[in-house]
Amino acid sequence: MNLEQMLQYFKSSERIMGNVTKWVEIPAREAVLCDFPDCIDARIVNALRSRGIYRLYSHQASAVNEVEKGRNIVVVTPTASGKTMCYNIPVLNSILKNQESRAIFLFPTKALSQDQMTELHELITEAGVDVKTFTYDGDTPQSARKAIRQAGHIVMTNPDMLHNGILPHHTKWTKLFENLKYVVIDEIHHYRGVFGSHLANVIRRLRRICNFYGSNPQFICCSATIANPVELAEKIIGGKVVLIDNNGAPSGEKHIIFYNPPVVNKELGIRRSSLMEARMFAEMLIRNGIQTIVFTRSRLNVEVLLTYLKDIFHGKMRSENRVRGYRGGYLPKQRREIERGLRDGSVTGVVTTNALELGIDIGNLEACVLCGYPGTIASTWQQAGRAGRRNSVSAAILVASSSPIDQYIVNNPDYFFGSSPENGLINPDNLVILYNHIKCACFELPFQDDEKFGVETTQEILSYMEEARLVRHVGNRWHWMSDVFPSDEISLRSASNENFIIIDITEPQHRVIGEVDRFAAPMLIHEEAIYIHEGQQYQVEKLDFDDKKAYVRKVDVDYYTDANLAVDLKVLDVFREDAGRKIQKSCGEVMVTALVTMFKKIKLYTHENIGYGPVNLPEIEMHTTSYWVSLPEELQRDITQLDMQNGLLGLSNVLANSAPIYLMCDPRDIRVVHQVKSPFTQKPTIYIYDNYPGGVGFSEKLYELHQELFVTAKRMIEQCSCESGCPSCVGPLNEFSGDGNPKEITLKLINIVLEDVCTGI
């Protein structure tokens, strides 16, 4: 069977269609083409022609024109629409006009910059021009660095390297900064939360240095489809951008199928394992020689699924190498071989993590199976985009797991197929992050007395630093006065610089595998916790709280751990508030005191509680931003204290799962707390706070999204197939007391919120 026949078969199978919640057929799209804009150098045009490109797609032409006009742009088009041309052409063009022009390309990963470099290099060679491009990252040999600093027209690097390797040494890069015309930021939707808040500050530092050398670069950003690409890009680059979304790339017919595994235990709401269902699809597709990519959400699942598939095809396929695994941890040589196999067709099936989601060139496959919702709509489209050929049919099958977000997505396809509700959020003025970057900026160039770094209060912060003996004010300038190299101590991946490091002691050669914020440490890396890193499970054997080190060992278990957090929350400051007739929503600064007393072991997939243990760690304080909703005090008269408790608990659980849908964040990035009678509001109140010191912008957005948030929560509960509550909606029943129906009481509270209107933003 070919793919079209296979899809026909699916449609005729009751077993399959009974579980399909949505089948969308996206018709083929013709290309929208434009002539090469006149401004493009003939050598580039000829190079493109010799590659068989005679005209540009509409969005590419718009990008070239807007950049020519001197505007900053953000390009938002689907995967495989030729986005790289939107920056490669203008940048090359500018260098051909003026040999002195320079550009910086930022990619979130090293692998991606290598790949993009190869592509750009081909275009340069084809055009027969002398344009030097280099990657500059941690792997660049010391001996090559000097030449790159002097001669490189285009430097491809990542934010971390810019932050710690380039900006603090700007005098070695005078040629680059004096002539910097373009800064390209690809995959800008990756820079959200903490990482994005840091990047915005790195760009502020970059702009200061450019200003010192007399340059003023234009920014070219690319993003996957999100709700607010312009807002995100403008916050990151600190300037206006023009949106380019007139996609002109052609695409073949595409089928997107939402599949919800059948319920096997109605009472507990347990469904058949998504891994097994994904295996069934993968097996059918691969058996028929249809090139298929399977995305799983963990490394462990890659291996499990791969073993199943290898067993099935053992001896049956011409060669065993027709089904391969691909994930972080594989050797580069092995990876290249698999990528090549996918391009030339010698590999029929590949099972992978999101390692293959970003632009690594593997050609276009026919079918894609997603085992579990990847967490964001943007990621889902990127993964699904791996299957898609211009002239033939392709298909992507999303197999939902039983997690609440997965269930919401498959049951509410409009949410997925409509305009994106996902917001890329950052907070460049997060005081902790900002403060750290002002240190770096001062190291790089002394601050002038009237200078601002993002915020009006820059001078105040500098005088605070003077008191802390980090800077010295003399002759109208603030000078760095410390022998510390500040960027060394600041990781762009975490909010505070008091991090716990995680050391893997599985092998005799210990190695650091990650870091956890001080505030998250008691929850994530208490002794016996299961810590997951790149899909691999580790168990914490020892936590040295004073030295900020956790020692972990690789394990393979079927549960995860969840710390029971006793949280006390105090409102310090209200930024915004709005009262309806009965309820009130607010957003402001809070102090959270968190004490972890015990943890639970929870079985994967079924979310059963299978054990617990004590935790003895000190209390942790955090100042962050929060959004909160208080319910009417009179409510206490209508419902019992017990019902109120159960209702608020159910509401907390469901909000913890519905909020990330809008915030593009991990469920762990936010926390929900409820108080039956809040000392601050004197009413039953539910708080959602940013789980990072200082906050990264989630709470402010939730305040604006208030209504949508509760509508989603309501739907999550109503659409859940369980009777009175399960981990997919209001939480496992054993968390509730009494004999009321937690689903009903939670819905009652939600309705009170929704009946009222908080309009003001």
């Binding site: 603090p168 040494h169 700007h170 005098t171 070695k172 005078t174 005081l431 902790v432 403060y435 001062c442 190291f443 790089e444 160039l445 002394p446 209060t457 105040e460 912060i461 605070y464 630093m465 008191e467 802390a468 003996r469 980090l470 010295r472 003399v474 002759g475 300038r477 000078h479 760095w480 006065m481 410390s482 022998d483 510390v484 190299f485 500040p486 060394d488 008091e498 310090l572 400051d573 209200v574 102090m591 100042h623 010191p693 200082g694």
Partner: protein
């Protein structure tokens, strides 16, 4: 309602140790305590200290004036970019004290010490910025001095001091006049000569162990940045005086060190310890391709009591002899290496086997050596080594050859 920024910053526990009292001025101004003068130019002012030493001044076992008699050829051996016709008087000794050791644009050289020969004396001229805003003036003054020279003599200046000063010039938009100096960085020859002998090849270690110069009441280099920061706040010149003295001694020691190294290069066998140092000197001559001297150095090393020195010298010698076709000498070296230690190394045996097989065509002798080498491999558990496989192949080939012969 919004609490003030300062208390919010404190809430986030940023800037540990802050809020302590500002240091008040406790000591004397620098101009009252240290003989020097305030120098002003278009970019502001800075403090300059100048000291003159007679040629006869003794430091580190030599008279400073001795440096003037170093011949240019010797300088060429320790300076890869040496220019014909330049003399010691064309070089400026340079050493900086900085606000940090990790480099980057936030590190400042607050004290630049220079040394040069002028009007019958060795002059040490130190440029000091009494605060951050004096940097442009200081660099302007330094630039004027640099314009008189075509070369630099430093200790680790290639990687650090000169590198940092170039950054400072760019930073302050001052066009440096000395663009591409020939640079004698004494760290490199020092490392070659004393690597085996000393645990550390830092200037202070060489000073103590080679030049026999003991510093009294010195400040440790690592503390210098914080001493400067304290000075900035307290304006107490008493603490910075030691740093200025430290820098001055560094420059004096560089002169002695240059003299010491030159003497060793002029007469390697007589001026060195005949062992570890001589071996290093031989290597320096190897880089400058003066093979007669190299052979002289290494032949003398063979007499050393130190077995590492002997073995390295023999290995090097054999290589030179072999390259020049002097096989009898080379064979002598290899044989000597074999008898020199209880467990002979593989290197001389493999070389001898090659020699017997290809040059002398003495297959039997070659076989004896190869078998001996294989035995050594087995005894020392080296059988998984690539050498062992090579030996096996060689043995098979020799056996075939012997059958044919």
């Amino acid at each position: 309602m919004y609490r003030d920024l300062k208390s919010r910053l404190q809430l986030y526990k940023m800037g540990a140790g802050c809020g302590s009292q500002r240091m008040t001025k406790t000591g004397s101004d620098i101009q009252d305590l240290i003989e020097g003068h305030i120098c002003s130019n278009d970019n502001g002012s800075c403090f300059i200290i100048e000291n003159r030493y007679p040629f006869s001044y003794l430091h580190g076992g030599c008279r400073l004036g001795d440096a003037l008699s170093i011949n240019p050829e010797t300088l060429g051996r320790v300076c890869s970019d040496f220019r014909e016709g330049t003399k010691i008087k064309d070089f400026l000794f340079l050493d900086t004290e900085t606000t940090g050791l990790s480099g980057g644009t936030g590190t400042v050289a607050f004290l630049v010490g220079t040394g040069f020969f002028e009007d019958g004396a060795f002059v040490i001229k130190q440029y000091f910025m009494r605060d951050y805003d004096e940097e442009p003036a200081m660099l302007t003054e330094l630039n004027a001095l640099l314009s008189r020279y075509s070369g630099l003599i430093t200790f680790n200046g290639r990687a650090f001091d000169w590198n940092l000063l170039q950054t400072r010039f760019i930073f302050n938009r001052i066009k440096p006049v000395l663009l591409d100096p020939s640079h004698i960085d004494l760290l490199y020859p020092s490392r070659r000569i004393w690597r085996l002998k000393l645990e550390s090849c830092g200037l202070q270690s060489i000073e103590e162990n080679i030049l026999n110069e003991i510093r009294i009441d010195d400040v440790p280099g690592a503390e210098i940045p914080s001493i400067y920061f304290k000075y900035l706040e307290s304006r107490n010149a008493g603490i910075i005086k030691k740093v200025i003295r430290h820098n001055e001694i560094d420059i004096l020691s560089m002169v002695s060190l240059l003299v010491r190294i030159s003497k060793m290069l002029d007469n390697p066998v007589e001026e060195s310890d005949g062992g570890q140092e001589l071996l290093g000197l031989g290597r320096i001559f190897e880089s400058s391709r003066e093979y007669d001297v190299v052979i002289d150095c290494f032949e003398n090393c063979v007499k050393s009591k130190n077995s590492i020195v002997r073995e390295t010298a023999l290995r090097k010698l054999s290589g030179i002899y072999k390259k020049n076709g002097n096989y009898s000498k080379a064979v002598e070296c290899w044989k000597r290496m074999m008898t020199d230690s209880k467990i002979p190394g593989l290197f001389p045996m493999i070389e001898l086997a090659k020699y017997y097989e290809h040059k002398e065509k003495n297959i039997e002798e070659a076989l004896v050596i190869v078998e001996k080498a294989m035995l050594v491999c087995r005894q020392t558990n080296f059988i998984n080594n690539a050498y062992y496989d090579d030996l096996k192949k060689r043995k098979d080939r020799l056996i075939r050859k012997s059958r044919r012969g």
